[in-house]
């Protein structure tokens, strides 16, 4: 898997002459708030298109790909993921329905909840869940979709320190076991240093550093 950005400009937010993101593996994008990190993820997910330049996915311009099919392979996990009214099971089913995938067995749904460290029954209503639990429900929903690339925007922002470690470990284990590429925006250098093989630093919409880190076992 690889993404290449060539001469990409988006409003006054991003200006990237060239950037290559390859997988599988973990790439972390770090930078201050408002530096353009989330906008970069949205470009990769084709939720927005660049004003200038092009974004290539596996050497094909995103504009030439079916946006729906692309988003089913390259899924974005926003900072505040959408939780839809209903039960935990409804939310897991909705994710699969959106992605055009068949509904799995209850055992598989529970397995996804285990992977995301969410110890709640499938029939529990989402209004009973705390912010952190809703974040983990959204992760469980993501795990069922088995994408090629996961774009994660501050996935642990709503979690306390202990849960953050659990959740990031489970995302990392899940991605490694299935050779899924992780592209993760984080404000935390500690998180980037712990998980990333490549760290990209963005400042004022420009890539100021693209650093290879030692490959992790």
């Amino acid at each position: 898997m690889n993404f290449i950005l060539e001469n990409v400009k988006y409003r006054q937010i991003l200006d990237i002459p060239y950037l290559s993101l390859t997988g599988p593996g973990v790439t972390c994008i770090v930078g201050e708030s408002g530096s353009g990190k989330t906008t970069l993820l949205k470009l990769l997910n084709n939720l927005i298109s660049p004003d200038q330049g092009q974004v290539l996915y596996n050497e094909v311009n995103l504009e030439a790909l079916d946006p729906i099919q692309l988003r089913r392979q390259v899924i974005m996990f926003p900072q505040n993921p959408s939780i839809f009214p209903g039960s935990i099971q409804d939310n897991l089913h909705l994710g699969l329905e959106f992605a055009g995938k068949p509904l799995p067995s209850v055992t598989e749904l529970n397995h996804a909840l285990d992977l995301a460290n969410l110890e709640k029954p499938l029939e529990a209503g989402v209004e009973e869940l705390s912010g952190g639990e809703q974040q983990r429900l959204a992760l469980a929903r993501l795990f069922l979709l088995e994408p090629e690339v996961l774009l994660l925007d501050e996935p642990s922002s709503a979690l306390d320190d202990a849960t953050e470690v659990l959740v990031l470990n489970s995302i990392n284990d899940f991605a490694q076991s299935r050779e899924i590429t992780l592209i993760m925006v984080t404000h935390s250098k500690a998180v980037a240093n712990k998980y990333a093989e490549t760290i990209i630093t963005i400042h004022n919409g420009q890539v100021v550093r693209n650093q290879e880190v030692a490959v992790r076992g």
Binding site: I68, S82, R141
Partner: protein
């Protein structure tokens, strides 16, 4: 029909005296709305007198082109009224959808209603076409206004849910299905409610008018049933076209959510 009581000029003036007394009461109680009331009464009088003479002329002429002109004016005023009543900013494309939905939906309902249900001959008989078209257009106008407002408000309030669904691979239609369904239901609810109460809570306008004109209630109810079904058809059709085509104006060819300038943070029009 010969024993209809015509209202004489003196009797009509006595109706205004009723309003005059009301105005004095408002003034004495310092409610302060007597000016609004007088403006409304004056406007209503001028509008109805003018429309009375115009209709008398059109009905007398039985002219195809005059009937069509009346329909065009009615549609244009209805569309203009919808634009002014919707408080959120409208894109040009969405305005076009409103116009297309109004014209297509009401015309289809009119053609079916006039030709198949009533069997008008000639089909443009203004005595039937103008008042019945007015009811279909007026109700569709209310339906479209409600449907459009609910649709726009739904998109504004649920933007993050729509984007969340898109991020998971939903197509725009699936990502907005609940909002579209809710807008459709909100738009046809008044028509459904009015049908439920009809004949028990009130006698509808068309039926009342016919009964006052001396027509048998048994004939009047047949017209009322037919026009209510026509209204339900016209409102449903216009709103279906509006919500299904209107929602598409919020997405580009890349299935990206595109909102008009000022849609989220802009001021709501008064």
């Amino acid at each position: 029909m010969d024993n209809i009581i015509d209202i004489g000029l003196v009797q009509l003036i006595s109706a205004y005296i009723f309003v005059l007394i009301l105005t004095i009461i408002l003034r004495k109680n310092r409610i302060g709305k007597e000016q609004d009331l007088l403006i409304a009464v004056t406007r209503m009088t001028i509008q109805l007198v003018l429309v009375g003479y115009i209709l008398e002329y059109i009905f007398g002429s039985n002219n195809l082109w005059l009937t069509l002109l009346a329909l065009v004016i009615m549609e244009a005023f209805a569309i203009r009224n919808i634009f002014s009543r919707i408080k959120l900013p409208l894109s040009t494309k969405f305005k076009q959808v409103i116009g297309i939905a109004m014209v297509t939906g009401t015309l289809t309902a009119m053609i079916y209603f006039f030709l198949v249900v009533i069997g008008l001959d000639p089909w443009y008989e203004p005595r039937y076409v103008i008042p019945l078209a007015g009811m279909l257009i007026g109700n569709s106008m209310t339906g479209i206004t409600l449907g459009a407002e609910r649709l726009l408000d739904g998109i504004k309030r649920n933007r993050h849910l729509i984007e969340g669904a898109l991020m998971l691979g939903a197509n725009p239609g699936r990502a907005t299905r609940d909002i579209v369904n809710s807008a459709f239901y909100a738009a046809i609810l008044p028509t459904i409610n009015s049908m439920l109460g009809m004949g028990i809570i009130w006698l509808p306008g068309l039926m009342t008018g016919q009964i006052l004109s001396g027509i048998s209630p048994l004939i009047a109810i047949k017209y009322q049933i037919a026009i209510m079904l026509g209204i339900l058809g016209a409102v449903s059709l216009t709103v279906i076209i509006l919500v299904n085509s209107g929602i598409k104006t919020f997405f580009n060819t890349r299935a990206q959510l595109v909102l008009p300038e000022g849609f989220i943070n802009g001021k709501v029009r008064n």
